[in-house]
């Protein structure tokens, strides 16, 4: 009997841990989405500019002048990076969801045993 109880406790712990992980992943996902959208707006703005535009980049407390081509490349690269990151987090989310599903099944099985 105590064996089953212990297993139940272990599974419950695992379950809540996994749920915390999932929540963290989802927060990370939405943060990435915000960054992605912001960078897309910046890129769209760059599309309207040309080489003559004076562009500055805020680095710490100062504004540094920047090359149009360089700035645009930076943002494009950043968008690519964020896209990869989003994909990475999304696979993690599905993995975690699968793990939660498994733990839930385990809990249900143990609970059924305890009922008997």
């Amino acid at each position: 009997m105590s064996d089953i109880k212990q297993e139940f406790e272990k599974l419950s712990m695992e379950f809540s841990n996994q749920q915390n992980n999932l929540n963290e992943l989802i927060t990370a996902r939405s943060q990435l989405e915000t960054q992605y959208q912001e960078n897309k707006i910046v890129l769209a703005e760059f599309e309207k500019l040309n080489d003559d535009s004076k562009i500055y980049k805020l680095t710490g407390p100062i504004l540094l002048p920047q090359d149009y081509a360089e700035a645009k490349m930076n943002v494009t690269k950043r968008i690519e990076f964020i896209e990869d990151e989003i994909k990475r987090v999304e696979t993690k989310v599905t993995d975690e969801e699968k793990r939660i599903e498994k733990t839930r099944d385990g809990i249900l099985a143990v609970r059924a045993k305890m009922g008997n």
Binding site: V42, S53, K54, A71
Partner: protein, 154 residues
């Protein structure tokens, strides 16, 4: 997002489940209301930017004052005058600033304001449908309670 959930027949749920559903909808409504408020604050800020440009433009054609107070800290200001005009540094996001003239600078903000208005309208639609859902859940829940009480009496 929550579209598949709407397919559930509310009347077949247990009262406890209904309470859970209600709690969830409540949370969603709260979340969307907060988002809507954030959108409106952002929009007000953008409008301030456009108004500031308009003010400076007025000082240029002589209809407004050239004087302004330059903030050194949040509590220390220097009286100043605008020397160079029609040149604005616009924050386009992620730390990038671009030098623009007044009409172009205003265009940046106007586009954003329009975009926010559209998003705000979408949010309002979502909020309305969520409120409707909440009302439906509440009604079903009330019916169940009446039913339950009637059963208790018998």
């Amino acid at each position: 997002m929550a579209a598949p959930q709407q397919q559930i027949d509310l009347t077949k749920l247990q009262p406890q489940q209904l309470v859970e559903v209600r709690k969830q909808i409540d949370q969603e409504i709260q979340h969307f209301t907060q988002s809507l408020q954030a959108l409106q604050t952002a929009q007000a800020k953008l409008r301030d930017c456009v108004a500031s440009i308009d003010n400076l433009e007025k000082s240029q054609d002589g209809t407004g004052s050239k004087d302004l107070l330059v903030p050194l800290t949040s509590s220390l200001y220097l009286p100043g005058q605008v020397v160079k005009k029609n040149e604005y540094l616009v924050d386009i996001g992620t730390g990038y600033f671009v030098e623009k003239n007044a009409p172009d600078a205003k265009k940046v903000y106007d586009v954003k304001i329009v975009k926010l208005s559209e998003d705000g309208a979408k949010l309002k639609d979502i909020l309305m449908s969520k409120n409707e859902m909440l009302n439906r859940v509440n009604m079903v829940l009330r019916d169940k309670m009446v039913e339950y009480e009637a059963q208790q009496k018998n």
